[in-house]
C-alpha cells in the first residue's frame, strides 16, 4: 500500500535519512520506533510532503507521492494526526471534527462519522461544544485521532500519539488504535514508546541515526535481546 524506496533526506549538509526502505501493506499496523533524532519524524514528514526526499521514491497504492503537497494527500486516502496533536484550539471539539471532513460534501455521511468518533471516544462527546484548547493533553490526542478519521482514510499516519501522556491515557489511545485497525484502516505508527507500539502492531521497523537497523514481526522484535536492552529497558 505504502512503499518507501531508498529514501534519503538532507538538512543542508546533514543527512537525516540515509536510504530508508520500508513498506506498509493493506490492513496492517506497522510501527516505526527509534530514539530521539533517529529520523522518525523526518520519515513521516517526507511521506506527508513536508520535506522533499533528496533521493528515492515514495509510492502510495502504486502512485508516486514524493514531493506532492500535503493537502493533496487527504484526497488520495492518507490522513495524519500530526505530532503535537495540532488541534484547532479556538474551535470547539465538534468544529474540529467537522474540519477533519473538510473535503467531504455529504452532510449525512459527515454526521454518521461524527457519531462514530464520539462512540470511539465518549469523552469527546462530553466535551462536544468545548473549545479544543481547553481539553487535556489526552483528550486533545483523542480529538486529533478522531479528526484524522473523519476523512475516512485508507491509511492513517500517527505521529507519537502517546507523547507526554499519562500511562492510563496512553492505554486508552492504544486501545483506540486496536479499534481503528479492527475497522480495516491501515496504520503507520511512529512511536517512542516502543513497549506499547510493539504490543499493538503487526510489524516494526527500528530506526537508528537515519538507517533502518532492524525489521520484522513486532512479537519477534519485542523478544529480541538487543531491542529489549536498547528500547524496552529490560
Amino acid at each position: 500500500m505504502l512503499t518507501l524506496e531508498n529514501i534519503s533526506v538532507s538538512y543542508g549538509a546533514i543527512r537525516a535519512l540515509k536510504g530508508v526502505s520500508m513498506h506498509v501493506e493493506q490492513g496492517e499496523v506497522v510501527t516505526l520506533i527509534g530514539a530521539n533524532g533517529a529520523g522518525k519524524t523526518t520519515t513521516l514528514r517526507s511521506i506527508t510532503g513536508l520535506l522533499a526526499p533528496t533521493e528515492g521514491r515514495i509510492l502510495f497504492e502504486g502512485a508516486e507521492i514524493s514531493g506532492k503537497p500535503t493537502h493533496q494527500l487527504v484526497a488520495r486516502g492518507i490522513s495524519m494526526s500530526p505530532e503535537g496533536r495540532g488541534v484547532f484550539a479556538n474551535l470547539t471539539v465538534r468544529e474540529n471534527l467537522q474540519m477533519g471532513a473538510y473535503l467531504k460534501k455529504n452532510k449525512a455521511e459527515i454526521n454518521r462519522d461524527l457519531e462514530r468518533g464520539f462512540r470511539m471516544f465518549p469523552r469527546l462527546k462530553e466535551r462536544e461544544s468545548q473549545k479544543a484548547g481547553t481539553l487535556s493533553g489526552g483528550e486533545q490526542q483523542m480529538l486529533a485521532m478522531a479528526r484524522a478519521l473523519m476523512s475516512r482514510p485508507r491509511l492513517l499516519l500517527l505521529d507519537e500519539p502517546s507523547l507526554g501522556l499519562a500511562p492510563l491515557v496512553v492505554h486508552t489511545i492504544f486501545e483506540a488504535i486496536d479499534e481503528i485497525r479492527g475497522e480495516g484502516t491501515t496504520i503507520l505508527l511512529v512511536e517512542q514508546n516502543a513497549h506499547a507500539a510493539l504490543k499493538h502492531s503487526d510489524r516494526a521497523y527500528v530506526l537508528e541515526t537515519g538507517r533502518i537497523v532492524m525489521e520484522g514481526a513486532s512479537k519477534e522484535l519485542a523478544a529480541d535481546p538487543r531491542i529489549k536492552e536498547a528500547y524496552l529497558g529490560e
Binding site: H71, E83, G86, L91, M99, Y102, R127, E128, T134, Q140
Partner: protein
C-alpha cells in the same frame, strides 16, 4: 419568502435608509449636523472599510500584514488618476450632476479595488507560499516602496501631492462601501472558506493535513483584503480631492492595525468599533491637544491590560454556524460552552502570542 428575495428586500431597504440619511442628515444645505461632525462620521466610515478588510487577513486568517496603507494608496492613486483623466469627462457627458458622478465613482471604485487587489496578488503569492512571518516583512517593505514611488512619480503629483481630484463627499457612497465590505467579510468567514481560513490561523500544518490548500486560501484572503483596502483608498481620494504620499506612510498602516487590535482580532463588530473609537477619540481629545497623545496612549495601555484580546476579542467568529449546531445539542452542553468562553482568556492570549510570534508550524503551545 425565499432567501434571495428576503436578501434583496433587506438590501433595497438598506440603500433607502443610507440614501435618506445622506439626503436629510448629511446635506449641508439642511444644517442638520455641522460639516465638522459630518466629516468625522464619513472618515469613520472610510476607516471601517480599512479595519474590517485588514481583519480578514490579520484576524481571521492569522497572517500578519502591516502594509495596509500601501494597498490603500494604490487604490487611491489609481482611481484618482482615472477620475482626473476619464471620470471627469464621463461625468460631464452625463450632465455633470449627481447621476454623472455616481457613474464615474461606480467605475472608479471597482477600478481602484482591482488595481489594489492585483498589487496584493503580486505581494501575496511569493510571501504566502512560505509559512511564517514573511508576510509582515514583505508588506512592511511594500508600504515603504509605494511611498517612495508616489513621492517620485511626477504624473501623479510626486511629493507635492496629487490635487484636482473630483470631490465626491458622499455619505451614501462611503457608507455603502463600508457596508459592502462588512457583508463580504462576514459572508466569507461564515462560509466553508471561512472555516479553512480560521483553521489556517489556528494551526497551519494541521489545516494542510485536513486537505486545505493553505497557500491558495491565504493568497485569496490577502487579495480580497487588499482590494477592499483599495476601495477605502478610492473613498479617501475623492473625499478631499487631494492626496499626499505622507498620508500613506507606515504610521497609517499602524493606525489601522491598532483599530483591529483594539476592537479585537477576529471580530467584525470589534473592527467597526475600533475604527469608530480611533477616529472619534483623537478629535474628542483635541481640546487637550498637548496631552492628547498622552491620554490616547494611556487609554490604549489600560485597555490592553484589562482586555488583552481587544474590546470584543475572543467573541465567536462562528456564532451562526455554532447556533445551528447548538439546536441539536442539549442545554447542558451550552452551559459548559458558556463557562468555557469565560475561562478561555489564557488560551486566547496564547494563540495571540503565537500569531505575533511564530505561526509557521503552530507547535508552540498546543504541544506542551
Amino acid at each position: 419568502m425565499p432567501r434571495y428575495a428576503r436578501n434583496l428586500v433587506v438590501a433595497l431597504l438598506l440603500l433607502a435608509v443610507l440614501y435618506a440619511l445622506d439626503y436629510f442628515v448629511f446635506d449641508p444645505g439642511r444644517r442638520m449636523i455641522s460639516p465638522y461632525v459630518a466629516r468625522i462620521i464619513m472618515l469613520a466610515g472610510i476607516n471601517i472599510t480599512l479595519a474590517v478588510s485588514l481583519n480578514l487577513i490579520n484576524g481571521f486568517t492569522g497572517q500578519f500584514s502591516i502594509g495596509h496603507a500601501g494597498f490603500m494608496a494604490v487604490g487611491a492613486y489609481s482611481s484618482a488618476y482615472f477620475s482626473i483623466n476619464q471620470g471627469a469627462r464621463l461625468a460631464a457627458g452625463l450632465g455633470d450632476g449627481l447621476l454623472g458622478w455616481a457613474a464615474a465613482l461606480l467605475l472608479a471604485t471597482p477600478l481602484g479595488a482591482l488595481v489594489a487587489g492585483a498589487a496584493g496578488f503580486l505581494v501575496g503569492v511569493p510571501s504566502l507560499r512560505l509559512k511564517g512571518d514573511y508576510l509582515a516583512i514583505v508588506t512592511l517593505g511594500f508600504g515603504q516602496i509605494i511611498v517612495v514611488f508616489l513621492n517620485n512619480i511626477e504624473a501623479i503629483g510626486g511629493a507635492r501631492g496629487y490635487s484636482g481630484i473630483p470631490i465626491v463627499k458622499s455619505f451614501f457612497w462611503i457608507a455603502l462601501v463600508a457596508v459592502l465590505t462588512i457583508v463580504v467579510v462576514h459572508n466569507l468567514v461564515h462560509s466553508a472558506i471561512g472555516r479553512a481560513l480560521v483553521s489556517i490561523r489556528e494551526d497551519e500544518l494541521a489545516s494542510e493535513a485536513m486537505g486545505v490548500n493553505t497557500t491558495r486560501y491565504k493568497v485569496m484572503a490577502f487579495v480580497i483584503s487588499s482590494a477592499l483596502a483599495g476601495a477605502g483608498g478610492v473613498l479617501l481620494a475623492h473625499f478631499d480631492g487631494y492626496l499626499n504620499p505622507k498620508s500613506f506612510e507606515f504610521i497609517k498602516s499602524f493606525e489601522i492595525l491598532i483599530m483591529i487590535i483594539l476592537g479585537g482580532l477576529g471580530s467584525i463588530v470589534g473592527s467597526v468599533l475600533g475604527a469608530v473609537v480611533l477616529t472619534v477619540l483623537p478629535e474628542a481629545l483635541r481640546e487637550f491637544a498637548q496631552y492628547r497623545m498622552v491620554i490616547y496612549s494611556v487609554l490604549l495601555i489600560v485597555l490592553m491590560i484589562t482586555r488583552p484580546n481587544g474590546l470584543l476579542g475572543g467573541l465567536d467568529p462562528f456564532k451562526g454556524w455554532r447556533a445551528r449546531d447548538r439546536a441539536k445539542t442539549r442545554t447542558e452542553a451550552e452551559e459548559i460552552t458558556a463557562e468555557d468562553t469565560r475561562d478561555n482568556d489564557s488560551v486566547d492570549k496564547a494563540t495571540l502570542g503565537e500569531r505575533a510570534g511564530d505561526t509557521s508550524l503552530g507547535e508552540g503551545d498546543t504541544r506542551r
